[in-house]
């Protein structure tokens, strides 16, 4: 009887306690927006670069979008109207961090630059949102998925991953997001051994000719509708015409931003790179 009364009292206490308000989170990057959604928090606003084709989860389609065209990232007046208590920003917009803090927002710069950092960043976001257990579970799942996505690699072709458009290639190096994804998918980066602080570097066409890539993956900034034209542009580069990639018609243009920006669903990206480009199952 005493136990029953205690249980009823406890239930009443829990019911009477004010419900913990969900934090109002502004997620400025696709990674943070996707991560918090998976942790059960809906962002009050997401960021988007004007020229970009940042990809958000379908469930976030109705979330307001704030342009990231201001030197500080978002326009502070616009950001203030969403009354966010937490801003998940990135190093790109760190100039705006002090201004956000002055507006009373808690700011965390989170944008992993490698696959290995995804788990750590996921756990850190979970801690900030007070969802540590869920974040740990999500991070562990992502790490397991990444390991599974790397199983059964049969070939390791030599790959040149290039960023944007230009008359001389800007190569994604091993310490870039796109380079890391391709390496994890089983590609041997043509730029192996090179490092640059930004993860990308303009490389000599001489080295492309000499190292002779099996596959060239271009990650342009163009609109998806212009992909065919861009692919033709890359394929017709006279300097690459003798490479195995061009001879075997293995110059690909990556659509979407999966090789440009980190996403929690990186395991799916690895599988997609293996299936579409490396064909190494």
């Amino acid at each position: 009887m005493i136990r029953l009364v205690a249980a009823i009292l406890l239930a009443l206490l829990v019911y009477a306690a004010p419900a913990q308000a969900a934090p109002r989170v502004a997620a400025l990057t696709p990674f943070s927006a996707s991560t918090i959604t998976r942790l059960g928090v809906r962002p009050v606003v997401v960021g988007q670069t004007l020229g970009g084709t940042d990809q958000y989860l379908a469930s976030l389609r109705n979330v307001p979008v704030i342009p990231l065209s201001h030197p500080l990232g978002p326009n502070m007046e616009q950001l203030a109207t969403y009354n966010a208590s937490i801003v998940l920003s990135s190093k790109t917009w760190q100039r705006g961090t002090p201004a956000m803090r002055r507006l009373g927002m808690k700011v965390y710069e989170s944008d992993p630059s490698s696959i290995a950092a995804v788990g750590h960043e996921t756990r850190a976001i979970g801690k900030i949102l007070g969802r540590t257990r869920a974040a740990n579970a999500l991070a562990t799942k992502i790490e397991n998925d990444v390991r599974a996505a790397q199983q059964g690699i049969k070939r390791r072709p030599r790959v040149l991953v290039i960023l944007g458009v230009g008359r001389t290639p800007y190569a994604m190096l091993a310490n870039s997001w796109g380079g890391d994804v391709v390496a994890k998918a089983g590609g041997q980066l043509l730029t192996q051994g090179l490092r640059a602080p930004s993860g990308i570097a303009r490389i000599s066409d001489e080295i492309v000719v000499q190292r002779n890539p099996d596959i060239i993956i271009a990650v342009p900034h163009g609109n998806p509708g212009a992909i065919n034209r861009l692919a033709q542009y890359y394929r017709s580069n006279p300097n690459w015409r003798n490479t195995r990639a061009v001879k075997n018609n293995r110059v690909y243009v990556a659509t979407g931003n999966q090789l440009l920006q980190p996403y929690p669903g990186v395991a799916a990206t690895i599988r997609s790179v293996r299936a579409k480009f490396l064909k190494n199952y």
Partner: protein, 328 residues
């Protein structure tokens, strides 16, 4: 020609030959000298080494040579015709216009990247044409002050438009930075094949403008009394400079430093401001400096390529400052 001027021309020629030889011999991939010779004389077999020499290094060396010469001559033409030591392709709006044309292609229409040289060329010439239209119309048409002020205004206008593009497409700026910093690319003959007629017209005009510019240096009144037409000469020189600088920008991006400094360097070294000396010597020195700087840009961190603009400044400024000190 005095001994001093002859030695300047000789030194510049030797420097140019040495820089061109280094540009052919050095790069991200080591190619033995024998293979380079075989490739250049058509004796090499098809293969990567031949392709590197004939299709990558040779067009790049020639492009650097032509662009360097064009910028040196453009600067000399503008400084002479506008009687202003600070004149450079920036002053007549070419740099601003070409920069906008290139950014428009790179940032807003990246799928039309093949049109990059055309965009830079068209907008460079358009900007200069607007400056000329304003500078040579209304009261005091063709006066130096009017042309320079029109140039500053149009440069500011195109500069603002370029900045707006970079803000609007901030996620794409990375691939455009290299163009802004100035640098040649190994795109074979494609860019040069588009702009060579403009180079040719610009260089030919410069040849015929050397004597009229010398007369112009005596002042408009004296030049007119000697049978010259100062405003027409000024317009022709600025137009030739616009053609040369726009074509150079179409190939190598923004390298304003060359056009500003090279003519001064040549005048200081040669001890004369005669355009019959300054124009060809500026062409030689500009070509030598750009070929040398481009070679360095390719080999310092090979296979990573550095932008050539900053390297050119590193090489050129100490030399220029030393000459300036000696002259004083």
């Amino acid at each position: 020609m005095t001994v001093r001027r002859s030695s300047v021309v000789l030194t510049a020629t030797v420097a140019l030959v040495a820089a061109a030889a280094a540009s052919m011999a050095l790069g991200a991939v080591h190619v033995p000298l024998a293979n380079i010779w075989e490739a250049l004389t058509g004796q090499a077999e098809e293969g990567p080494l031949r392709q590197i020499i004939v299709e990558l290094r040779l067009p790049r060396t020639i492009s650097a040579l032509v662009v360097g010469a064009a910028l040196g001559v453009a600067g000399a033409l503008l400084q002479g015709s506008l009687a202003n030591p600070l004149a450079s392709p920036d002053v007549i709006g070419v740099t601003g216009g070409a920069g906008f044309g290139a950014m428009l292609t790179l940032l807003a229409f990246p799928s039309a990247i093949a049109l990059l040289p055309v965009g830079a060329l068209v907008f460079g010439i358009t900007a200069a044409a607007i400056v000329f239209a304003i500078g040579w119309s209304g009261a005091h048409a063709g006066s130096i002050g009017r042309v320079i002020l029109a140039g500053i205004a149009i440069t500011a206008l195109f500069g603002a438009a370029t900045t707006s593009l970079m803000v609007a497409f901030s996620d794409r700026v990375q691939s455009a930075v290299f163009w802004l910093a100035g640098g040649l690319s190994s795109d074979g003959w494609s860019s040069l094949s588009v702009v060579w007629p403009y180079f040719l017209v610009g260089f030919l005009m410069a040849v015929f403008l050397a004597r009229p510019l010398d007369r112009l240096a005596l002042g408009d009144d004296v030049a007119a009394s000697l049978g010259g037409r100062p405003r027409l000469v000024r317009l022709a020189a600025a137009a030739a400079a616009a053609l040369l600088a726009s074509s150079a920008a179409a190939i190598a991006g923004l390298l304003g430093f060359l056009g500003l400094v090279i003519p001064h360097l040549v005048r200081l070294a040669g001890g004369t401001a005669s355009h019959r000396f300054v124009l060809p010597a500026s062409a030689l020195c500009g070509a030598a400096l750009l070929v040398a700087a481009d070679t360095l840009a390719r080999v310092v961190l090979a296979p990573i390529e550095l932008p050539v603009g900053p390297l050119m400044v590193v090489i050129g400024v100490p030399l220029f400052l030393w000459l300036l000190r000696e002259a004083v």
